[in-house]
């Protein structure tokens, strides 16, 4: 579990960095007046002189300076954020168009610490004139002004990634998009002009290049070295940026894997910088239901926004305004609001001023309006949550719960919780032959690395323990182990209890997008910590994550997910959201508790019986030696007593002291639970797929 700790540390240190930079700025203006107080001789500057340097700040300039707000604080995170923004956009586009998404992610090292990242989808493609704006202008997009469940929200992400790339490497963003197999594909090389927040097109004399369809186009693509996987339609963006490639926690691989859990309808192809190819095939053949766009709910609107809406609205009556611009407002409701605010229902909204807006706002808060429609949200569904978890997280027990939709600040949202409980660790289930095979095929440099990468959920601490137990040297290469050492490693894996001290792992999702950073700032983590897990059979010290081989997945789906920052790393703490998360956690917790208690009980019972039976033979033969009683007969009688004793001890008594019949031996946990045999779980071990060339060579 050292890994989660590491994660926490990292996320804790991030905001601190942000604060520091802010603080540094502040003292400067403050010190000016105090300095002038002390020395009234001469002003350092005049209002006129200062006015000369006061000017507009473009969005792109702001974010170029404050890129940590968007998730570009370090090279490692920059790589992930770039992939993440592009994949999220692709998925949104495909789903909106009704296409089953297929995504290609290629990361290629270029020079030094630079990487070329290419992300392609099979989406509907982008119109020629929109391409530069979408990729070369911050805060340009379709998702900000509507209320609809989607991954992207602001229209910052991908253009910011491009901007980061340009800033760190000077290489333009390359986009190729095709809307039909018969129409030409558009190819652009773009740089963002940070001063103006405008795209600057570099190729085709500032106009981009059209690549004709068919063989001619294919030849052109070939000739100019444009990267493109042949598709009838789709978009590919290639960004070269300064980055650092890592594996494990907070990596691109982890992000894609978690994306696959929450999006079983997506096919993913991923080639990492070391040329390993990973494929996540879709397990669901149909798209999730299309989320509906909804109008804002009166409760979710702030005064400023209301005033702005009134101002921007076409001329219409107040009643009509409320009925058409908001959800859940009927004409009676509109009348009630207008009456309460002493505004005529017939008055023209263009003539309403700030005071009216204020009164209307106050009345809205006091009027009882039915909550917004919640059918606009598409949860993953308990079934697919179970499926996704089972495919990726090793374990023996899975449970899922989808809460009914709820509302915070007028925005509908829905919480889903999945839980995977893994009994014995994957290291203990492995056979010696399989271990030898794994050791053969691994490319890791040390045994420790081998253990961490091969066995899912094994932390650095546990790997260290294993290496120590096997009496291996820390820097030994797994491929070069002596047969004796291999055997020792195998023995150690059987012996060491790696689950000891293991903590619950929490996978967080917002609108099917995995959240990998800022764990401790997130409402999900805080609610998990605030829930008492001891009642569900897990041990937990005060204010800490529960212990045990448990993975938890929490998904919040909403038309507007309240993130704590633009980098979309943590969910804000709304009491309504926390309550729903808690209820979801309790739902899966109860099922886990039932399962664990039953398992414990069965084990205790069989243990007890076994111990008694073991001694009964000794007792009966000793007794028969003393008094000549028939040994066999006595033994059988004692066995009968033993059976009765053990069942009696396990029997529950009702409040009158009479035994309650145990209803049904089968454990009935409901539908949304999956129990598997952990020893045959294929997700427990990561195997390196042999590259096709190697196979050919063998033949």
């Amino acid at each position: 579990m050292a890994t989660t700790k590491r994660k926490k540390k990292r996320s804790a240190s991030e905001p601190a960095v942000g604060k520091k930079t802010k603080k540094k700025k502040r003292p400067a203006p403050r010190s000016k007046p105090s300095a002038s107080d002390a020395t009234p001789v001469k002003r350092r500057s005049t209002a006129q002189a200062m006015a000369a340097s006061q000017r507009d700040i473009s969005v792109s300039e702001f974010f170029a300076k404050n890129r940590h707000l968007l998730g570009f604080d370090n090279p490692r995170k920059a790589l992930l954020t770039t992939v993440k923004e592009a994949v999220d956009n692709s998925l949104d586009a495909c789903e909106e168009a009704g296409i089953l998404p297929e995504i290609w992610v290629h990361i290629e090292p270029t020079t030094g610490d630079r990487f070329k990242v290419g992300i392609q989808d099979n989406g509907p493609g982008i119109l020629k004139k929109q391409i530069p704006l979408i990729f070369g202008k911050l805060l340009y997009g379709s998702k900000f002004h509507r209320l609809r469940q989607s991954r992207g929200q602001q229209g910052i992400g991908i253009s910011a990634a491009g901007m980061y790339g340009v800033q760190t490497t000077g290489k333009p963003v390359k986009i190729i998009s095709k809307i039909s197999s018969r129409k030409p594909a558009h190819y652009y090389e773009i740089q963002i002009d940070t001063k103006k927040n405008q795209p600057k097109i570099l190729n085709g004399r500032g106009d981009g290049v059209d690549i004709p369809p068919g063989d001619k186009g294919a030849a052109y693509i070939e000739k100019h070295g444009i990267e493109w996987v042949e598709q009838p339609h789709g978009t590919r963006v290639t960004i070269e940026l300064q980055a650092k490639f890592i594996r494990g926690r907070g990596s691109v691989g982890e992000y894609l894997e978690q994306t696959a859990i929450a999006n079983p309808h997506v096919s993913l192809h991923y080639i990492d910088p070391d040329d390993y190819e990973y494929a996540y095939d879709r397990s669901a053949k149909s798209l999730p239901a299309e989320p509906k766009e909804i109008k804002p709910h009166p409760y979710g609107i702030e005064l400023g926004r209301l005033a702005q809406m009134l101002e921007e609205s076409e001329a219409m009556s107040a009643s009509e305004f409320f009925r058409t611009k908001f959800s859940r407002v009927t004409s009676t409701m509109a009348k009630r609001i207008c009456d309460g605010a002493k505004v005529s229902t017939r008055s023209n909204v263009r003539k309403l001023d700030r005071t009216h807006a204020d009164r209307l706002y106050q009345t809205i808060q006091q009027t009882k309006i039915s909550p917004p429609a919640t059918d606009c949200i598409c949860p993953i569904g308990e079934d697919l949550v179970l499926k996704g978890l089972h495919q990726v997280v090793p374990g023996e027990f899975y449970a899922a719960a989808t809460r009914p939709p709820s509302v915070y600040r007028g925005n509908p949202f829905q919480i889903e919780v999945g839980l995977a409980y893994g009994g014995s660790a994957p290291t203990q289930n492995v056979t010696e032959d399989l271990l030898l095979e794994l050791l053969e095929e691994t490319d890791t440099r040390t045994v420790r690395q081998f253990l961490i990468h091969t066995f899912n959920g094994l932390g650095g601490e546990a790997a260290d323990k294993l290496v120590k137990e096997a009496a291996l040297k820390t820097r030994q290469t797994p491929g070069k182990l002596q047969p004796k050492e291999r055997h020792r490693l195998y023995e150690a894996m059987k012996k060491v209890n790696v689950a000891e001290g293991q903590q619950m792992e929490v996978l967080r999702y917002a609108n099917r997008v995995p959240l990998q950073f800022q764990q401790s700032a997130c409402a999900v983590t805080q609610t998990v910590l605030g829930t008492n897990w001891r009642g569900y059979g897990l041990s937990q010290s005060r204010g800490a994550m529960p212990k045990g081989p448990v993975s938890l997945m929490v998904h919040i789906a909403s038309v507007w997910v309240p993130f704590t920052s633009e980098s979309k790393e943590a969910i804000a703490n709304y009491p309504e959201i926390q309550k729903e998360i808690r209820l979801g956690l309790q739902a899966v917790g109860r099922k886990l508790g039932m399962y664990l208690r039953r398992r414990l009980k069965v084990r205790q019972q069989s243990d007890r019986r076994e111990i008694f039976l073991r001694y009964l033979k000794e007792v009966s033969s000793a007794v028969s030696e003393i008094n000549g009683a028939k040994q066999k007969e006595l033994y059988e009688q004692l066995v009968k007593v033993a059976k009765r004793q053990t069942t009696e001890a396990d029997m529950k008594l009702d409040d009158r002291g009479r035994p309650i019949e145990d209803k049904g031996e089968e454990l009935n946990l409901g539908d949304n639970v999956l129990i598997v045999d952990p020893s045959t779980h294929k997700a427990a071990i990561n195997r390196v797929a042999l590259e096709p060339e190697e196979l050919e060579d063998d033949q």
């Binding site: 007890r608 111990i611 008694f612 073991r614 001694y615 033979k617 000794e618 007792v619 033969s621 000793a622 007794v623 028969s624 030696e625 003393i626 008094n627 000549g628 009683a629 006595l634 009688q637 004692l638 009968k640 007593v641 033993a642 009765r644 004793q645 053990t646």
Partner: protein
């Protein structure tokens, strides 16, 4: 003895049981019969074993010995924590029965080997160490109310005797004044069936019991027993039951007073306490072992000053010693004795221990020629 194992009788020659053995055998059979009865009635078989702890002993001020109380621990077969102990108890009982049947005696270790085997269908042993079987044997003793000798068991021989007495051991007359430097090894079983004492064959006037072999050697080499006409014994530390039983018999049957020369430390005090009023663990045997009239001759805490010993021979006390000393001071049989309280307090104040051997710093034979004769003639002892 209505039921007897047919196989055993057929193979082994039948041994005639002494009346005492018959009594023991009846008790053993009773234990087994209870198991059978319980199993037939589908009940949980159990045995009740008097508890052998400080809480279940009391000091009888009248008899001046430690006696066992009536607290009993129930040991059940169908209780997870007791199942193994129950099995062992029955196993030891069957081992004793086998010994009785064949008219043989064996050592505690022999018993351990007789019963030690792997339980069928597991990797578990009935007993892993001798300590485990020894405690169960003590349990069986108290459970049956039979003595170890009656179960045909004996312990390792410990302790020697020399002096003006002739003992009949298993039909051999043994003149204990002619034992040379080795002495007569006191057997584990010293019951009248084995060792016969005759008042006419005893010329000694008292018994001097010393703590360990080395001191006893000194006394024997200096022929102390000859000069002072006494019997000289040692127990090699904490005296075993055989030694205590012999002291008891020498005292009660031959009317010899017992004097003890022990180290001046908590363990020495406790050895004296065990000789005098019995031990907590074997409180059920106090009656036939304790010698309430035994006297504590030395070493005393005042001896450092009285004998003008040098600082070189003192041993520092540790926390454990201090704790034990306070514990002993609180035992009811010491609590009301002023001289003993001041003795223990004095030792705690000294904050050091003295061994009998420390007197050698005065002179090699100081203890035999000066120290003990002086104490005896001055009748200077603790009671």
């Amino acid at each position: 003895m209505a039921k007897k194992r047919p196989v055993a009788t057929a193979r082994k020659p039948k041994v005639k049981l002494s009346p005492r053995d018959k009594k023991t055998m009846a008790r053993l059979t009773d234990v087994a019969d209870r198991v059978v009865r319980a199993a037939k009635a589908r009940r949980d078989p159990h045995v009740d074993i008097p508890s052998r702890t400080l809480s279940n002993v009391h000091y009888s001020a009248r008899k001046k010995i430690i006696e066992m109380g009536n607290n009993k621990n129930r040991r059940k077969l169908f209780d997870l924590s007791q199942a193994k102990a129950y099995m062992r108890t029955v196993l030891v009982s069957s081992g004793c029965k086998r010994l009785l049947d064949q008219g043989k005696t064996t050592s505690l270790r022999g018993m351990y080997y007789m019963l030690k085997h792997t339980i069928e269908g597991s990797r578990e042993n009935t007993f892993d160490t001798q300590n485990e079987s020894d405690t169960i044997i003590e349990d069986v003793e108290v459970m049956l109310g039979s003595l170890r000798e009656e179960l045909h068991l004996y312990a390792q021989k410990k302790g020697d005797l020399v002096g003006n007495i002739t003992i009949n051991d298993s039909g051999f007359d043994i003149d204990c004044s002619r034992m040379g430097s080795g002495g007569y090894g006191i057997p584990s079983i010293v019951e009248p069936e084995v060792i016969k004492l005759d008042r006419k064959k005893c010329h000694a006037k008292f018994v001097l019991h010393v703590e360990k072999d080395t001191v006893w050697q000194r006394f024997n080499e200096d022929r102390f027993w000859e000069k002072h006409n006494c019997i000289l014994t040692h127990g090699g530390g904490q005296p075993t039951r055989g030694i205590r039983r012999l002291l008891h018999r020498l005292h009660n049957e031959l009317k010899l007073p017992i004097y003890c020369v022990l180290d001046n430390d908590p363990w020495g005090y406790y050895i004296y306490s065990v000789i005098k009023q019995g031990s907590i663990n074997l409180a059920f045997e106090s009656q036939r072992m304790a010698v309430p009239e035994a006297k504590f001759l030395g070493l005393r805490s005042i001896d450092y000053d009285r004998c003008e010993l040098s600082d070189d021979v003192i041993l520092a006390m540790n926390d454990n010693d201090r704790k034990r000393a306070k514990q002993i001071a609180n035992y009811p049989w010491f609590a009301k004795k002023r001289p003993w309280q001041s003795e223990i307090q004095r030792m705690l104040k000294n904050d050091f221990k003295l061994e009998v051997e420390s007197l050698i710093s005065k002179d090699i034979s100081y203890v035999t020629e000066v120290y003990v004769p002086e104490r005896l003639s001055a009748r200077d002892w603790l009671d």
